[in-house]
């Protein structure tokens, strides 16, 4: 399956979707000019991945900032993983947040409330 690697910029996150090496990561800042088209390849990739997922799927979020429009798309991504989990696959979300950033920690808690999928909060300094 195709690997997606997108370099992060000042307004778009770094994205790695690599099924072969089992690395799924979204990190950095997210305030793209057009959120829907920016995240479209991610959603498409996840749809394809769901047809033949790895034994275990771990998605790492390590965002330092995202705007409200991105928050909606992040939920769409999490819901894709929820579907995978509902089908009986082993799925884990790791939500990394700067240890002094309560808002980012709370954002993780909120997503964990909304989607029914194993969710781990990880503080980093």
């Amino acid at each position: 399956m195709e690997t997606i690697k997108i370099q992060g910029t000042e307004d778009t996150p770094k994205i790695i979707l690599d099924a072969e090496n089992e690395v799924l990561e979204i990190s950095g800042r997210s305030l793209p000019e057009d959120v829907s088209s920016f995240y479209e390849p991610v959603i498409n990739w996840l749809n394809e991945y769901a047809e033949k997922p790895n034994k275990k799927t771990v998605l790492n979020f390590k965002l330092t900032y995202f705007n409200t429009a991105s928050s909606k798309l992040l939920l769409d991504i999490l819901m894709k993983l929820e579907e995978l989990h509902e089908k009986g696959h082993d799925v884990l979300i790791r939500w990394h947040y700067p240890e002094d950033d309560e808002d980012m920690e709370e954002a993780g808690e909120e997503y964990a409330d909304i989607v029914d999928v194993p969710f781990e909060q990880v503080a980093y300094s």
């Binding site: 409200t68 429009a69 909606k72």
Partner: protein, 195 residues
């Protein structure tokens, strides 16, 4: 400005303008079309100023959040015009001021009068909500809301109130029979304990 007298008058105006900016502690002012490039430029400028001033991280993050949402509100909504008045489409005024105790971010843009009731209700509703209610509303809107054509998620005002913990102050001033100027100001405390 063809003759010397006009030039002098204009330059005096510029000085008055400068003085009143200083008096109101305005650090950034812009009038015009708000694009994504402008949003990026203003946020990075304000960020570097705040970090030069050793502003706490939490304050910097909140100011950044509020600026982005305010700028995007204008870029996504200010052109919802049926009247094709070029003066108004996608344009607005944007100000950042830095006082001793707080930052404020103010936007102004023209709106059609028939949007006033909707905006007032929306803002009043958000203003009277407490932390828990705002959190539930945000979650609900994120789940059930849909992105508009321009990529608005309807979450901006809720997010601003949540991040600042302060009411959104707003005002409408009449422009014409059909349009008004919508002013909105959000304040962010510079003291970490208040955040």
């Amino acid at each position: 400005m063809n003759n010397k007298k006009d030039v002098k008058g204009f330059l005096e105006f510029v000085y008055e303008f400068y003085k009143s900016m200083k008096a109101h502690e305005i650090t950034l002012v812009y009038e015009g079309e708000i694009t994504h490039q402008i949003t990026k430029a203003f946020t990075s400028l304000t960020e570097s100023n705040m970090s030069k001033d050793d502003e706490p991280n939490s304050v910097q993050r909140k100011v950044f959040h509020v600026m982005v949402e305010c700028l995007q509100n204008i870029s996504k909504h200010a052109d919802d015009f049926t009247s094709n008045d070029y003066l108004f489409s996608g344009r607005g005024i944007f100000l950042v001021s830095k006082g001793e105790n707080e930052y404020s971010v103010t936007t102004g843009n023209a709106v059609e009068n028939d949007k006033i009731e909707y905006l007032t209700e929306l803002l009043e509703n958000i203003n009277k909500m407490d932390k828990e209610e705002l959190k539930e509303l945000y979650k609900k809107q994120m789940k059930e809301g849909r992105l508009s054509e321009k990529g608005g998620a309807g979450l901006g005002f809720i997010d601003i109130k949540r991040k600042t913990g302060k009411e959104l102050e707003y005002h409408f001033l009449p422009i014409s029979d059909d349009t008004s100027f919508f002013l909105l100001t959000s304040t962010i405390s510079r003291s970490e304990s208040e955040l």
